[in-house]
């Protein structure tokens, strides 16, 4: 199954700084095992532009579409057997401690 893993900041990061995982090691390991298809770090939200079309008119606004303290800072596209495997991959990511991760499966239209 394909999961989009949104990497987000969090207002309450973990205070335990022992044995923090290295993101390079995480990427190398999951790429090698075919569990990470691709991923990227995004530019800060100050660089975001929101696009809408209403009644044929283009409406642009500065910034992300939702005003929240937790913002998406990156993503990884995962290919895992099931949610438990995706959770194992996610928990080893440094941002599981410094921020939070959201696992969203791709919609399956064949069901």
């Amino acid at each position: 199954m394909k999961y989009m893993m949104f990497v987000c900041s969090d207002t309450e990061p973990d205070t335990d700084k022992e044995n923090e995982p290295d993101v390079e090691v995480w990427v190398a390991e999951n790429d090698a095992r075919g569990r990470r298809l691709r991923g990227a770090v995004l530019a800060p939200e100050s660089a975001a532009t929101t696009v809408r079309v209403r009644q044929g008119e283009l409406i642009l606004s500065d910034g992300p579409f939702a005003e929240t303290k937790e913002v998406i800072v990156g993503f990884d596209l995962l290919e895992c057997a099931d949610l438990d495997e995706a959770i194992e991959v996610a928990r080893a990511h440094p941002m599981a401690r410094a921020g939070r991760l959201e696992l969203r499966p791709f919609a399956d239209f064949e069901q």
Partner: protein, 407 residues
């Protein structure tokens, strides 16, 4: 349904549902087919007599219904063949579907229903619906929601299992140790939460049945046995906990002759097999001290106090701290209890809680200051969360005000 059919259904239904979910991945289909098989049994068995292997009969009927339904929906051949191979359920032990298949389907089902990616309430409801075959209407009543709300909640949970890819599997290795406490917490919630209109715990019996099943399926897990022992020991007091008017009877006023001896001895036997004490093991040992004591004063309070010390170290909660203070009050005198109580109230969580005030009142009364105790009991009654609790606290206030000799 006749009693014997009900007993067969209770055993066979979760097996059938679990097996059909494993093969088809379709929760609703599995439940519907099991229900249809039961309905057919209700019509046929009274006339034709119960078959020699009733569980197997039900499994065969349900399996054939599933094959028919899926064939109409033109599901791929492989799934149909696998369905056709589903062995009719025997009575005990894992169902061998292919030689390597040794994990009981019901165990898989329990772990899936209790998956931490589902909201806690949905885990409890799904466990009741799918494994205990409790009708959605009854679950709804116990959780104080309407039946359509409960049905929607169940449907949403089943959808999430499919959409999010929650596996139908018992975790192994370190993952098992991580997930098992969550499963036990759901069982514990089943045991304690949700009361029928008459104040009886609605699902205590189901929780006990599930704990028995889990213990049979995971014999090496000491906390599973400990949880079953805890349930049996607690449940032994169910008849003595309420008087005829529905008032709660505190432990020290309960008629010990009304405690269920069979439940106590089974609980003690199960507890004797527990080698390593986790949180449930300690709670079961505390319950064992209570149910084996001839009276409150004849209770082994030093052991109970020690168990609460260990429990507080392992898993400190306001309720544990409160009970720990009370136990120390009985084991080492009211001043020791009051000192602990003051310490655990200082962090705020217990401050002003009716149980905390009642505990202070009880310790104060036993310390001899009956006037202050009466005032404290009234103070606790003013913030009580239920009518029976309020009445019980007012009774205690009156007793202390009248200076009746204490029993």
């Amino acid at each position: 349904m006749t009693a014997s059919l009900e007993a067969v259904a209770a055993d066979a239904c979760p097996r059938i549902v679990a097996a059909l979910i494993r093969v088809t991945g379709d929760w609703t289909l599995a439940e519907d087919c099991a229900q249809e098989a039961l309905a057919l049994a209700v019509r046929r068995w009274p006339e034709e007599g119960m078959p020699a292997n009733p569980g197997g009969w039900l499994m065969t009927v349900a399996r054939n219904r599933a094959i028919d339904t899926l064939r109409r929906a033109s599901v791929e051949r492989r799934k149909l063949e696998e369905l056709a191979r589903l062995a009719p359920a025997g009575h005990d032990g894992p169902e061998a579907v292919g030689a390597e298949e040794v994990v009981d389907d019901r165990l898989r089902l329990i772990f899936t229903c209790c998956h931490p990616a589902l909201p806690l309430e949905a885990r409890v409801a799904l466990t009741l619906r799918t494994i205990c075959a409790v009708p959605a209407a009854r679950i709804a009543r116990a959780f104080l929601v309407t039946e359509p709300t409960m049905t929607r909640r169940l449907t949403r949970a089943k959808r999430k299992i499919a959409d999010a890819g929650i596996p139908y599997r018992v975790p192994t290795g370190p993952a098992l140790a991580e997930r098992l406490p969550g499963v036990l917490a759901v069982l514990y919630l089943l045991f304690t939460q949700g009361y029928d209109a008459d104040g009886e715990p609605a699902f205590a019996e189901e929780a006990i049945r599930l704990a028995r099943l889990l213990r049979r399926l995971m014999p090496g897990q000491s906390e599973v046995s400990a949880l079953l022992a805890l349930f049996l020991l607690q449940h032994s007091r169910r008849d003595a906990r309420q008087d005829a008017e529905g008032n709660l009877v505190p432990l020290d006023r309960q008629d010990r002759a009304r405690w269920d001896r069979a439940s106590i001895s089974e609980g003690l036997e199960v507890l004797a097999g527990v080698e390593q004490d986790g949180p449930y093991g300690l709670q079961a040992r505390i319950a064992a001290c209570h149910v084996t004591a001839p009276s409150v004063s004849g209770t082994d309070w030093p052991t109970i106090a020690r168990c609460y010390d260990d429990l507080a170290r392992m898993h400190s909660t306001p309720v544990v701290e409160l009970n720990r203070a009370v136990a120390h009050g009985y084991a080492h005198g009211p001043p020791a209890g009051l000192a602990l109580l003051a310490r655990s109230c200082s962090d705020g969580a217990l401050d002003g809680h009716p149980l905390a005030i009642a505990a202070e009142a009880d310790l104060t009364a036993r310390g001899g200051d009956r006037d202050r105790a009466a005032a404290l009991f009234r103070q606790a009654a003013a913030v009580a969360r239920s009518e029976p609790e309020r009445r019980a606290l007012l009774d205690r206030a009156d007793e202390n005000a009248r200076r009746e000799p204490r029993r």
